[in-house]
């Protein structure tokens, strides 16, 4: 086997005219020229590999950065924020000395190519982000979006994704407590697989990704490095570097949750003994990312010997080692005298750990291979000084026509019988139907702290057994609303997640987001993105919930057709005592049902318009953030003071959907009366924001009414928990049995 000479820094300097495959690695001509300008010479193959992955859209946020800045510029004052945007995940103070870290990320593209592994490694990646902050992961959530429920490919993608999430998360011992499953034809070729995780630590245990202290050792630990997940590997393995390589490497990573479980335990043990100065997980861009970020966030200098990286495949080239996205790996910076103990702990957990380098005095990241220096860069130029684009954006020409196509003008049910049929059709439609066939494949009991899990409005975890302190998380997003108006759509996503957290009794504290959009090279998509970010940043400022981090996923489109703009928002809340949580299920017959908030004729983007008319047009429901805040305060007070026994937020499907869910979960019916001033159709199916239903023991009615009255929150008595059917007086009744059959039968029939 003949090899071309090793492409060292020295060699690169002497051979300025060698052509490198920068275009195949995804760099633009001006980006490559910028690399040459930074280095003052052509890059080596290894340097090119690093710049190309770190300057990719995924790692550098080059198209989104100029917009994302608003999350910092418009950040509300919040004493709760301990670590903000820029680290592996944000950290929030939840009181009693506890800090919580949480984040949502996307794994959309790999999950379409290989649903099981794509989704599994999505869980793995977000969990490592949480560990890297110093926290013990305590729960995961999974907001998912698929193509039409009855499309044949959905039957390939969905079961694989669900099995992958379950297979990985269950084996890690993390309860899956929330998320969403949404079907829409717009996601047919581009399913959205977002994954969120929460971790808990004490304030003093927060760790950051930085390498400081010359002489400190850089330790790579976890799985061996293999050839999986190398984005541009087919090019890297081409003639330019070495003729004799296999020509293709798989681009989707393969997960090993068992290895990750060991990684969690051994990392937490090392944290507990204060052995770690800085830490970074290896996710996208692998070692390229970990070394350049650790170095640039610290004092700046690092020397790494790539020969020492444990390999699964000894034929890997240095470029491939730097780009590999093999899962279940982490990189720690450890003081020399603590290295032995660190390695001992890894050995206890049967985790391979190797010193691969050290922090240096200088400000260069130097990487060696077979004795030659193949990388010599300022790590900041790799990790932080990537290109930034002001992509052109423009309101699409079709937006006006879409908004003019008013859903309020669609034909409404003419008779009570027709209304009854439409309600039954709605609660059985794939988006409104029970998702228990999916969620029963996730462990939600493990760790023994789960207070609430899906289908509750938010997932809730106890974090202190003595005091009952807990945290809640909800994720929401409505691509249909965002398509009609991306600014309002993003605000509605935040409103819903905020409301969901408050409905369970927790106080909303902070936000993470996963922004799923089409191609940033399309000005219409870029406009949707810019509008959504502006809307979310404005709303976060008004509600006082800072964005602590998140993720952008672009290029979710097939050909010219982009997905609906889909900002998914996660809200984290805190509750002083989980014993005060409010569940969705009706608890007791005879309790009074109250509707909180105002109901208007708002059907644009509604579930009804989709299920009955297959229609998307008009305007989404009006946003009223002050109302959301007031509603949340009332729900939290009522929960704390024991005034309500169950509550449910109103969102897609409107009031009737919420009542049916509460009734089926509690196995208790309800009798409802249409309030004065509303027609039955609007009462049952409008999707006005800022609303919830609550069930109140009769003894609390006066006190509850007084509270709402004093705070000027509209509260309307709409009925009573009673019987074994859901009855709308003067209109129709549906027995719990037929509702259950309709609501619970759909998903198994389509997918099982």
């Amino acid at each position: 086997m003949s090899r071309t000479p090793l492409d060292t820094v020295e060699h690169a300097a002497k051979t300025p005219d060698v052509e490198l495959p920068w275009a195949e690695l995804g760099l633009k001509k001006d980006e490559y020229e910028r690399v040459v300008e930074i280095l003052g010479r052509r890059p080596t193959g290894a340097e090119l590999a690093m710049y190309s992955v770190m300057w990719s859209e995924h790692c550098s946020y080059k198209s989104s950065k100029v917009h994302l800045r608003q999350f910092g510029e418009k950040a509300p004052q919040s004493d709760a924020l301990l670590v903000g945007i820029g680290e592996n995940a944000g950290v929030v103070d939840v009181g009693q000395g506890y800090a919580v870290t949480f984040k949502v990320e996307s794994h959309n593209h790999p999950s379409y190519v290989e649903p099981y592994q794509g989704a599994a490694t999505g869980v793995g990646g977000i969990v490592r982000d949480i560990i890297a902050m110093g926290a013990r992961p305590v729960a995961v959530v999974d907001p998912l979006r698929f193509g039409a429920a009855d499309h044949p490919d959905t039957k390939r993608v969905l079961p694989g994704v669900v099995a992958g999430i379950g297979g990985y998360g269950n084996c890690l011992g993390l309860p899956n407590i929330g998320g969403e499953v949404v079907f829409d034809a717009c996601y047919q070729g581009n399913p959205l697989v977002n994954a969120g995780a929460i971790g808990v630590m004490r304030h003093e245990d927060i760790h950051l990704a930085k390498a400081s202290g010359a002489g400190n050792k850089v330790i790579l630990y976890g799985a061996r490095t293999g050839g999986d997940g190398i984005g541009g590997a087919s090019i890297l393995a081409s003639e330019t570097f070495d003729d004799a390589k296999p020509s293709k490497r798989p681009a989707v990573q393969v997960g090993d949750p068992f290895q990750e479980k060991l990684l969690i335990e051994c990392t937490l043990e090392a944290f507990a003994e204060k052995l770690v100065v800085g830490i970074q997980d290896l996710g996208a861009a692998g070692l390229s990312c970990a070394t350049s970020e650790l170095a640039s966030n610290g004092s700046g200098g690092m020397r790494v010997t790539l020969d020492d990286v444990p390999l699964r495949d000894s034929t890997l080239s240095p470029e491939e080692i730097l780009m590999s996205e093999s899962q279940e790996r982490m990189c720690a910076v450890v003081e020399p005298e603590k290295v032995d103990r660190f390695l001992e702990i890894c050995d206890k957990w049967d985790v391979i750990a190797t010193v691969i380098g050290e922090v240096t005095d200088g400000d260069r990241l130097e990487i060696f291979w077979h004795g030659g220096k193949i990388v010599d860069v300022d790590p900041r130029t790799v990790a932080h000084d990537g290109p930034v684009y002001e992509r052109p954006y423009a309101r699409p020409s079709w937006q006006d026509a879409l908004q003019a196509d008013d859903a309020n003008k669609l034909a409404r049910p003419a008779t009570s019988e027709e209304l009854r049929e439409q309600v039954l059709k709605l609660v059985a439609s794939p988006n409104q139907a029970s998702k228990s066939w999916i969620t029963s494949q996730y462990d939600h009991f493990v760790q023994g702290n789960t207070v609430l899990a899906q289908p509750e409005d938010s997932g809730m975890i106890r974090i202190d057994e003595e005091s009952g302190l807990g945290v809640a998380i909800a994720t929401d997003g409505n691509g249909r609303f965002a398509k009609l108006d991306p600014y309002a759509g993003a605000q509605l996503a935040l409103s819903e997640a905020y409301r969901n957290v408050a409905t369970t009794g927790a106080k909303p504290l902070a936000v993470s987001d996963c922004l799923n959009f089409g191609s940033p090279e399309d000005p219409a998509v870029m406009w949707q993105f810019a509008e959504a970010v502006r809307g979310l940043a404005d709303a976060c400022l008004q509600l006082g919930t800072p964005v602590t981090g998140g993720n952008v996923s672009l290029y979710n489109q097939t050909g010219e057709v982009a997905i609906h703009p889909t900002p998914v928002v996660a809200v984290l809340g805190v509750i002083d005592d989980v014993a005060r949580r409010t569940p969705v299920a009706f608890q007791e017959e005879g309790q009074l049902l109250y509707l909180l908030g105002d109901t208007r004729e708002e059907f644009g983007g509604s579930a009804w318009s989709q299920v009955v008319h297959d229609h998307l047009g008009g305007l989404p429901p009006a946003v009223d953030l002050e109302r959301e805040r007031l509603l949340a305060e009332i729900l939290i007070s009522a929960s704390r003071d024991g005034m309500i026994d169950s509550a449910h937020d109103l969102s897609d499907g409107g009031l009737i959907q919420a009542v049916v869910e509460s009734a089926l979960l509690g196995d208790k019916g309800a009798r409802l009366v249409v309030p004065d001033g509303l027609d039955a159709f609007t009462f049952l199916l409008s999707e006005s924001a800022g609303r919830a239903i609550v069930a109140i023991p009769r003894s609390e009615e006066l006190r509850f009414n007084d509270m709402c009255g004093a705070r000027s929150l509209p509260a309307t008595r709409i009925g009573v928990v009673d019987g074994d059917s859901v009855e709308i007086q003067g209109e129709f009744a549906l027995t719990l049995e037929e509702l259950r059959e309709a609501h619970e039968g759909t998903i198994p029939a389509l997918l099982a």
Partner: protein, 226 residues
């Protein structure tokens, strides 16, 4: 004096801390045991908890069964040490031949997590005296490989000797033969079951029931009275 109950952590054990909590709530003292350590630290009983030991990559429980800790445990269980195997722990006990039969993948081929109704069939084992025979309880179930199988003779023997300790009621979640959810050895000191009693010990958490607590109070009473 209270009882000291060991909980073994294998690589991939998941419910070790939950099981320790359940033991504590019952009033006993949990003692952490490590798979590489043959020493059982003189505990009075041992729980093998749920999880995916060694990733369950070969066959659930097949590798854990060869851990150093199991050498001592097998020996002492045969001599009468009370041992409870929950889920993966049950799988390890069958692999170790402390209990007969074995577990296959669920017949529907999916992981399943639900609050499962069971009937207590044998309330005389070391771990079940705080139940009454015939009592119907709800215990969370969560597994991938929960389908209990055994040859006809073994099944007949288990049934004839009253060694089926728990049976699934209403819905068989995995295709287990004879609806078997848990069994005991002849002496009644070794019990294994697929559902997770440690997830049903606090009214607020998990399933919201405390139907699992009697496992831990049963053994505590037995040990303290001994």
């Amino acid at each position: 004096m209270t009882a000291r109950i060991g909980v073994v952590t294998f690589p991939g054990s998941l419910d070790d801390r939950d099981t320790q909590r359940a033991i504590r709530l019952a009033g006993a003292e949990p003692v952490a045991l490590w798979h590489k350590d043959k020493d059982l630290k003189q505990v009075d009983a041992v729980v093998l908890c749920g999880g995916f030991s060694y990733g369950d990559y070969l066959r659930a429980g097949a590798i854990a069964r060869f851990s150093p800790v199991m050498e001592t445990l097998i020996e002492q269980a045969k001599a009468g040490l009370p041992v409870l195997g929950i889920c993966n722990g049950f799988q390890i006990l069958t692999e170790a031949h402390l209990l007969p039969g074995g577990m296959l993948g669920n017949d529907h081929l999916h992981f399943i997590c639900r609050d499962q109704q069971l009937r207590v069939e044998n309330a005389e084992t070391a771990w079940t005296t705080d139940y009454t025979a015939g009592q119907e309880i709800h215990i969370p179930l969560k597994n991938m490989d929960g389908r209990y199988v055994a040859d006809r003779r073994t099944l007949d023997e288990l049934e004839a000797e009253g060694r089926v300790a728990f049976r699934y009621l209403g819905f068989n979640p995995n295709g287990s033969l004879n609806d078997i959810a848990g069994i005991t050895n002849g002496a009644g000191n070794v019990v294994g079951l697929m559902p997770h009693p440690e997830h049903a010990v606090e009214p607020l958490i998990g399933s919201g029931r405390t139907d699992g607590l009697p496992f831990f109070t049963s053994i505590l009473k037995k040990l303290v009275n001994a």
